[in-house]
Structure formats: structure tokens, C-alpha cells
Amino acid sequence: MIKKTLLRLFIVFCWLLCICLALYWPKISFLRYNNNTINVFAWSDILDPSVIAEFEKETGIKVKFNYYSSNEELLVKLKATGGEGYDLIIPSDYALGNLIEENLLKKLDKSKLSFWQTMDPRLLDKFFDPGNRYSIPFEWEIFLFAVNKEYFSHHRKAPSWKLVFDKKTIDYKIAMTNDPIEATLFASFYLFGPVKTLDSARASSVQNLLSEQKSFVEAYASFRGDYFLSTGSCELAIASSSYLWKTFKQFPTIGFMIPKEGTFITVESFAIPKPSKKEALTYKLINYLFKKESILAHFESFGFFPATLHPLPNVNLSPDAEKLILASKKDFSHFHFMHEVMSQQKITDIWVEVKSKN
């Protein structure tokens, strides 16, 4: 009897082993040391696959991608593995600061980067990475309002955050961002200016403002602004400049406004995790991506402003698109960087509260 039970246990163990092998197989094949491959962990819409394909052809280095959809995901994954497994990551501004604090990044060897003099000085030496010891800014975008041009020229409203928050003067519908970090940040900016963090009293005011705003919100959507504008569901949508780039081509009735009090920008930078042993290959990739042709190709595909000073293509541009490029050349006195104004739990609580009430 004991023999039979032991045998059965052995069979169970064998099957469990098989199942575990199947489950962990992707991880095993991923971690296998491959001399000529670099692993990139990035947003899904930041690197142009055709540019990468050309890089692979030219240099023979293979680039493998893994994607994340939020900075939180990047932070958690990197903290969990200590940076193992990836050779290049592309965090946003505040996430970058976090990673540097946690000592997860490798210092850059600027002598290996051939393009440094083409960088836009406005983006260098920021609070999250003084001296750019760990990161190279790659792309950036501005948060602004996409507007129904006809409505706003007719009603002569000045570009201001009042257009999305002042209940008394708003008699139209807006499309609000669906990201609670952005929403609380904008609300806090409207009420208190460029503060770093909020105490609980101020947090309550932010919550009240957002709750009041709900009465004239058509929908919460971060990326459908142009759709709502084109169907006439709303007259104003909070959107990002990269998104609007494609919009201007398709919908000439949509224009943009930048609030005069100032607005927010977000910067995506390249960084190398500490445990990576393939910097030589990674530097090759970075140098390739900062070549003029790559920069312009990326701009055409995704619409992010490049972090270099290369002139952007200005043929066949609509007047709105030209205005947008001009706006991006201004100095950064009115541009603030994205950050979290409260703990993540508090932001989530406020967001759930705002949305669950009618």
C-alpha cells in the first residue's frame, strides 16, 4: 500500500514539474545569456519598429521588447528584480527620480554618446536627475486643451484652467483625462499653483473641485478627445500634444489652447539598469536612435517632441500644427513637470469617491 501511495506521489510530482516547466519557460528563455541581444523595457508606442529593424540590420544586434503600460508597473517590476533582465528602460520624469533614489540605475558614460551637443538644453539638468548622470531625455509632450475652434472663437474665451474647472462660467461639455494622477495634479494646480504635495485639507478641496466638475464632464477619456470633439459631444478636451498631432491632419475644425497660467509636460528618458552588462550594445542603440533620421521618423510616427534641437519637418503642415511647434519652442517658465501630489492610495481614494457619487 505504501509503495502504491509513494508511486502516486511520484507521478503527481512529475506532472507538477512538467506544468512548472511550461509556466516558467518564457522566463528561462528570456534570461538565457545571449551575446548579441539587448532587452528593452518600454512603452508600446515610443519606439518605431521600422527604425529598430534597420538598426538590427545594420549592426546585427537583436533588440527584444517587453512593454509596460504605466510607470507604476515599471517601478514595481524593476524593484522586484533589482533591475535584472533589462538593458534599457524608458521611464517618465517622476518615475526616473524614484529609480535614482532606489539606486537601480547605472551612471552614464557621456563620452560614448556622440550626439550630446544636439540636445535641447531646456530638458537637461532637471530636478529628477541633476547633471543627467543617469538619463538621457528622448521625447516630451505638453498637456493642453483640444478645442472646437469655431465655438471658442465665437465665444472669445481666454485660454485658462478656468475653462475646465470654473463651474460658473462653463456652459459646455468637456472631456476630462481618465488618469487620476493627472486629474489631481491639474486640479491642485488650478487651486494652489505649482505645489509639490498637498495636505489633507487641500486634498479635500481638490476632491470637491473634481466632484463639481463632473456635472459638465461628457466623459473621462485620456485618448478619445478628438473623437468627442468631432462628433460634437464636447467642445473642449484635455489632451496631450503627441495625440493632437494626428488629430490636426484628420480634423481641421479642431484647434488647441495652452492655458496662460502654465501647463504640464512629461519627459521620457533613456536609462540603463544597474545589473546590465551590455552597455556597449545599448550605447550603440542609443546613438542610433538619436541620429537625425531616427528622430524625425519617430516624430512622424508618434508626434512626441524630440529632446534634440533638430528642426522639425514643416512641409504640408496645417496652421494649427505650425502653431503647436512654435509653442513647443518657448522657454520652460510656464511648463511644469508631472508628479504625484499625494500618496497613490489617497489619489485612488479621491478618484473612486469622485466617480462613485452622482
Binding site: 502516486r8 517601478l75 466623459a219 460634437g232
Partner: protein, 292 residues
């Protein structure tokens, strides 16, 4: 693996056990795990600290309870509306359709077998300000300006009913199909009107199908979050939306598990209540002579 003839009697076991193993490993173990992580505190360094109600406690405030209750209401409303539309349809298919029974069933299956997100997309075209419905009403001269159907609770409800209708129709249809029509004839012959027959005979005997339909609609509707986001402009939060926000926000993963556990408990309780309420409404009274 080769076995001698003595051990070949274990071959069925080798073959049969993976199914059970799979189920335990990938279904019961994860469920036990989320219940566990909801109640066990983990210190910052990663060591287990002990039993705690704190995580569940985070959600025992009016905001989150309100979210859970709106999900309950959404699910119940959806199930009720589906039932009101589904029952006549199932009845027609079972008793009145005769030759066309299979065709009707087939036509019901096609939308059921198409990707649900495409249905959501389809309704954009119908309900938008310059969509089909508004254009129709304008052509008929009934309205001047477009009615904003989209991004509202109305749009959410329409989509929910639209998607879950087959789930309600199919169980009711299959229980009605097994029905012996002679019972209805007998009831009519004995003088009961159509309505009384419906109430006293048909409804109680199809209770099994009605129950199955209600649960097949109520339970998934409870966890729904894509439809409120896309059709309702994400202006209302339901259980699914909160869970998605917590779980995919990663740093608060175990809190997400706690909220899921809490919502599941309330779902369980409400389902049991629903079961009794359905019995109360539809069960046959008095007559014991009719067998199920």
C-alpha cells in the same frame, strides 16, 4: 514512461491525475491565495506578520460600499430587464415557432459568438449624436437637435441588456423546450385563462431555467467594467473598475485582492437572497399534483 505489467494498472492514474492537479493548482490555489493575502499582513521587508482585518477595513467605508451596491443594482436591473425581454422570446421560440425554431436559435447565437467589444463599437454608431438613431429621429421630424444618448447610464444599460440577453434566453428556452405542452392544454381546457396558466403552470415549471438565466446574467454583470467605461464615459465606478484600478496600479496589489474578496462575499450573499426571492415569486403555490 514504460511500466512493467505489474505497474501498468497505474496508467489510468497517470493519465487522469493532471486534470485534477491542473484544477487545484490553477483554480483553487489562486483563490485561496487571494483570500490569504487579504487577511495576512506583510511587513515592508517581506516577512509575514500575522492575521489582520486592516486591508478589508480600508474598504469598509461609504465610498467603496456604495461602489459595491451600485454593482449589485446594475446586475439586478440588467437581469430583470433581460428577463422581461427574454421570456416572451423564449416562449415564442419554444411553443410558437415550430418550423423556425432552429433558425431563431441560430440567429440568436451569431451575436453571442462575436467579440463583445465589437458590439460595444457597433452601438457607438447607433447612439452617437450623428449616429443612426439620431438621424432616424431627425428624418422622422421628431427632434431638432441630437439627443446625447452616449456617455450615460442609459447607454450602459442598453449595452448590458444587449450583450447579456442570449445568456437569459438560452436557459429559459431549454427548460421550456422540455415542457410537455399537454399540461398547458389541460390547464386551458379546465378553464384557466392564458395568464393564469402562465402564472400557475408555466412559470413555476420553468423556474430552473429562470434561475439559471438570472445567475448567468447577474454574476458576470456584477464584475463588468468595460461597458461602463466605453458606453458610460467612465463616469460611474463599479466593482470591476475599482479592481482594475487597484490591481493594475500594482503597488496596491494586495489591497485589490482584499476588495475582490469583500465584493465576492457581498455577491455571494446577494445571490443567495436572489435565489430565495426568485423562489418566492415564481414557485408554484398550492398544487402538489404537478410534477417537475
Amino acid at each position: 514512461m514504460k511500466f512493467t505489467s505489474k505497474k501498468s494498472s497505474e496508467f489510468p492514474f497517470i493519465v487522469g491525475i493532471p486534470a485534477i492537479l491542473w484544477q487545484i493548482l490553477l483554480f483553487y490555489l489562486p483563490l485561496v491565495l487571494i483570500v490569504g493575502t487579504s487577511f495576512i499582513a506583510i511587513s515592508d521587508s517581506g516577512s509575514l506578520e500575522g492575521f489582520t482585518f486592516e486591508k478589508i477595513g480600508v474598504f469598509l467605508n461609504p465610498t467603496y460600499i456604495r461602489v459595491i451596491l451600485s454593482s449589485v443594482l446594475l446586475g439586478l436591473a440588467n437581469a430583470t430587464i433581460c428577463f422581461c425581454i427574454a421570456y416572451p422570446l423564449a416562449y415564442f421560440m419554444a411553443f410558437r415557432a415550430h418550423k423556425f425554431k432552429n433558425l431563431l436559435l441560430f440567429l440568436l447565437l451569431i451575436p453571442f459568438w462575436t467579440n463583445f467589444l465589437l458590439h460595444v463599437y457597433a452601438w457607438f454608431f447607433v447612439l452617437e449624436r450623428n449616429g443612426f438613431l439620431n438621424n432616424l429621429l431627425k428624418t422622422l421630424g421628431l427632434i431638432q437637435d441630437s439627443i446625447p444618448f452616449m456617455n450615460s447610464l442609459f447607454a450602459t444599460m442598453i449595452m448590458m441588456v444587449y450583450y447579456y440577453l442570449p445568456f437569459m434566453v438560452l436557459p429559459i428556452y431549454s427548460s421550456l423546450e422540455k415542457f410537455d405542452y399537454k399540461l398547458i392544454e389541460a390547464s386551458l381546457d379546465l378553464g384557466a385563462g392564458r395568464f393564469k396558466t402562465l402564472r400557475r403552470i408555466i412559470l413555476p415549471l420553468s423556474l430552473g431555467g429562470i434561475r439559471a438565466g438570472f445567475f448567468l446574467v447577474y454574476i458576470p454583470s456584477f464584475g463588468e467594467f468595460a461597458i461602463p467605461e466605453l458606453m458610460g464615459g467612465d463616469k460611474q465606478m463599479f466593482v470591476g473598475s475599482v479592481v482594475a484600478r487597484y490591481i493594475l496600479g500594482d503597488q496596491t496589489g494586495s489591497l485589490g485582492a482584499a476588495f475582490t474578496v469583500l465584493s465576492s462575499v457581498i455577491l455571494c450573499v446577494s445571490s443567495i437572497l436572489l435565489y430565495f426571492v426568485l423562489n418566492l415569486i415564481f414557485k408554484r403555490r398550492g398544487s402538489h399534483a404537478v410534477k417537475n
